[in-house]
């Protein structure tokens, strides 16, 4: 299908470029911040976009998404947000197009393969839904008024994108809602690194309970130091320990609470280096492992390349600096940024949308994203 050239140039819009360069230089810090910025960019793109049917709009969004993902493939929240927006766009479009008289062929080809993948034919397509205020029917590809389709759809889309943005902004509050049910008095919690989600979770629980937190310092990023300072200034008794003592202390720990970088479709996750150690030690002591993460971290990717994490390596000089001059060229230094933790090691994911066991993550992904969008 022919895409008019002005549609294709959208991908080069300035605002997209700005975000692309920020991503490439890793100037955006934090998964949630990245997601928020992506949504803002998409909102601009959609509001300025010109399209006369739904496929064009989706094509535009996908093109932008592809550019952003290519800028920083390790930051999965970018792709996830784009997919989420696409899902909402399609949903809104379905809702609106059903209201109008131009219904699709409701009884689309029902074949055996559809039967297998979608189950028994549901009757939703046939009945008319509740009447909307959207009485104007959408005319696609109208040659007289090419913008009517876009104009009709845009307000709805803006609302949908605003929903996504709202969800992102309230992530920490929603995750922390159930904090006091998960942490009991006088428990000893172990955490590593500095995850803002876990931080807000623990601080929320501190309002109701008195407990102790052990923070492992997580060399070489030393995120544990900031976490410990932040928690102790909130009044939680904290212990800062080096990573080597995780196994030693695990016999006293009641729960292990960690953050995630991305949650994969098989229920596993990418998390900061050191998580695999903590989780394995927890399993050896039968300590429950709880992961706090927002739903925007759900990634419809299965673990590719197995245990090699996200294949992202950080600066080796923080491990072995140049002051050890004689060693630097004789020795290989490895400083991976992420670990892959398998689904069998995690007990529950606490997300802003409730608590889920790892075995139902694939279902969450099916609900949040459309199958067509797995590959942008």
């Amino acid at each position: 299908m022919g895409i008019p050239p002005e549609v294709q140039n959208v991908a080069n819009q300035r605002i997209v470029e700005v975000l692309v360069s920020k991503l490439r230089r890793r100037q955006v810090v934090g998964s949630r911040q990245t997601a928020i910025e992506t949504v803002l960019v998409l909102r601009q793109v959609v509001s300025k976009a010109r399209f006369s049917n739904i496929e064009q709009l989706i094509h535009i969004i996908k093109a932008v998404g592809r550019r952003l993902v290519q800028a920083q493939p390790k930051e999965h929240t970018v792709g996830n947000t784009v997919r989420k927006v696409l899902h909402h766009v399609r949903e809104e479009y379905q809702a609106v197009s059903r209201a109008g008289p131009s219904t699709q062929t409701a009884k689309s080809s029902f074949s055996i393969s559809k039967f297998v993948s979608q189950g028994q034919p549901r009757k939703q397509n046939l009945t008319a839904p509740k009447s909307d205020t959207r009485s104007t029917s959408l005319r696609e590809n109208d040659p007289n008024d090419p913008d009517s389709f876009a104009k009709g759809l845009k307000p709805v889309l803006m609302e949908a994108i605003q929903d996504v943005l709202d969800e992102l902004e309230t992530v920490y509050d929603n995750v922390s809602k159930s904090a006091k049910d998960h942490i009991h008095s006088d428990e000893i919690i172990l955490t590593i690194g500095h995850s803002k989600t876990v931080e807000s979770f623990l601080k929320a629980a501190a309002h109701y309970r008195n407990y102790i937190v052990i923070v492992a310092e997580t060399a070489p990023s030393f995120g544990g130091h900031e976490m410990a300072c932040s928690l102790s200034s909130a009044g939680i008794s904290s212990f800062l320990v080096p990573d080597s003592s995780i196994y030693a202390l695990m016999s006293r720990v009641n729960k292990c609470i960690l953050g995630a970088h991305a949650i994969l479709a098989n229920g596993g996750m990418f998390a900061i280096t050191g998580s695999l150690l903590a989780v394995s030690a927890a399993q050896a002591h039968s300590t429950p492992v709880v992961v706090c993460a927002g739903q925007f971290k759900l990634t419809p990717l299965w673990n590719l390349y197995h245990d090699y994490g996200a294949l992202d390596f950080a600066d080796p000089s923080s491990v072995l600096g140049f002051e050890e001059g004689s060693l630097v060229d004789k020795v290989d230094v490895i400083n991976p940024y992420f670990d892959y933790v398998g689904p069998e090691l995690i007990d529950v994911y606490i997300t802003n949308d409730g608590d889920h066991p790892p075995s139902s993550v694939y279902r969450l992904i099916k609900e949040s994203y459309d199958d067509d969008d797995h590959e942008l």
Binding site: S185, D186, I188, N210, I212, I214, E217, T218, A219, P220, F222, H225, A228, C229, L231, S232, S233, G235, I236, S237, S238, F239, L240, V241, P242, D243, S244, S245, I246, Y247, A248, L249, S251, R252, I272, T273, G274, L277, S280, A281, A284, D307, Y308, G309, S318, V319, L320, G321, F322, E323, E324, L327, K330, V331, D332, V333, I334, N335, P336, D339
Partner: protein
């Protein structure tokens, strides 16, 4: 006698503290931070006493504050309870009384407390060498025999060392052997001969149980290293270093991955030694071990001591490495001389451990300038730095000793097999 003195001293201190606590209500957290430093010595009696001292806290906190709101008392209770579970780890106290301590021992104590000499073998050898000097300088007072008086002369020296830094199992075993030798000296022997005989026994001990044992271990463990292997080791064990250098000198081709951890960062020294010998090395920090363990063919670690249930007490972090290796079906081999055997059974890392001084923790590497003071003035923040941990026998595949390669739990049957009563 000195033990009794110590006991009195601690009773006095406890009484004083009870008074102070009754007066100052809201100062519990800083006091419990000071509490470990007030303890002296880390012998077994002190451990139980410290435990009972800690038990005094909740009642002290609760009593005499009847006017306070209940929430306030609960708060204090929670704080002290939290810090209490780690309270039995003694922090080393800077030694004060020098009295009749031999200067060699004083110097040794200083080296221990500043972590200039680390490692079970190194400490044991240094201690025994220092004792040789002490014995040579010793003069038997009149109306006394060497075999009876020397021991009482050495005791305060030993407790001085223990005060500087808790005794390692190796030191304990060596000193026990020394005591046995001293009490076995012939009464009729002239003093200088007796002293020479003792020094020779010490030399023999070092030579047989440590140096020669290491050589046998080098060879035995070296045979397990095949060409093309990727060996992983943690921190710095003197034995493992010897094994790797010997195997390399033997012409075997292998690579070594050195896993290191803060705050001691001992692995760097090992890295220096190995790479100057020409071995291809990789270096990484402990959290990254999960990424490389799949490529490893064998894990080689040292031990501080070995217990009769087969558990290995070693540098903190060894348990993590062994656990990861076991999960990925990588054999874990512990290189350990038989004199490191301890007859006690340890169940977890809390039974007996040592906390490193906080200053050691805060020494950041140069490339990461940090505002260290931010760590100091947080009232709810404690820094805990256990130096050792316990690796359960299930994570260990084999132990290489000078009597051969044995499964970890068989170490207790060795004395019987060798016809000795104790190791």
């Amino acid at each position: 006698m000195t033990k009794a003195e110590r006991r009195e001293q601690q009773e006095r201190q406890r009484a004083a503290k009870a008074e102070k606590a009754a007066q100052n209500s809201g100062k519990n957290p800083p006091k419990s931070a000071n509490k470990p430093s007030q303890s002296s010595g880390a012998g077994a009696p002190a451990l139980t006493r410290r435990g009972s001292r800690a038990a005094d806290f909740p009642p002290k906190g609760a009593q005499g504050q009847s006017k306070d709101a209940k929430a306030g008392a609960d708060d204090k209770g929670a704080h002290t309870r939290g810090l209490r579970i780690f309270s039995h780890f003694g922090l080393p106290k800077p030694t004060s009384h020098k009295g009749e301590i031999h200067p060699a021992i004083v110097r040794l104590g200083l080296q221990f407390s500043e972590f200039k000499i680390t490692g079970a073998n190194a400490r044991c050898i240094a201690t025994l060498t220092a004792f040789k000097t002490v014995i040579q300088d010793y003069v038997t007072p009149p109306n006394n025999t060497l075999s009876r008086h020397l021991m009482t002369y050495l005791s305060p020296q030993i407790s001085y060392l223990v005060a500087a830094r808790p005794m390692s199992v190796t030191m304990g075993n060596a000193i026990r052997q020394l005591k046995l030798d001293i009490s076995g000296t012939d009464i009729d022997l002239p003093e200088q001969d007796a002293k020479d005989a003792l020094c020779e026994k010490i030399d023999t001990y070092i030579r047989d149980r440590i140096i020669a044992a290491d050589q046998v271990i080098e060879e035995t463990a070296g045979n397990k290293i095949k060409d093309g292997d990727a060996i992983l080791t943690y921190a710095r064990s003197s034995v493992v270093e010897k094994v790797l250098l010997a195997a390399h000198a033997d012409g075997r081709q292998f690579t070594v991955t050195v896993v290191d951890s803060r705050p001691m960062l001992e692995g760097k020294k090992l890295l220096q030694v190995l790479s100057s010998a020409g071995i291809q090395c990789t270096y990484l920090l402990l959290p990254a071990v999960g990424s490389v363990i799949t490529e490893t063919s064998m894990v080689l670690v040292g031990a501080h001591s070995l217990h009769s249930n087969g558990a290995v007490f070693s540098r903190a972090g060894t348990a993590l490495v062994a656990m990861m290796a076991k999960q990925h079906s990588v054999p874990v081999v512990v290189c350990c001389e038989t004199y490191k055997f301890s007859e006690t059974v340890q169940l977890d890392s809390f039974t007996r451990n040592e906390l490193a001084p906080v200053e050691l923790f805060k020494s950041f590497p140069q490339n990461r300038p940090q505002d260290l003071s931010s760590l100091n003035d947080q009232p709810n923040l404690q820094i805990l730095n256990p130096l050792y941990d316990l690796t359960p026998p299930s994570s260990i595949t084999a132990v290489v000793t000078e009597v051969g390669v044995i499964p970890p739990s068989s170490i207790s049957s060795i004395p019987l097999a060798l016809g000795r009563t104790m190791l």
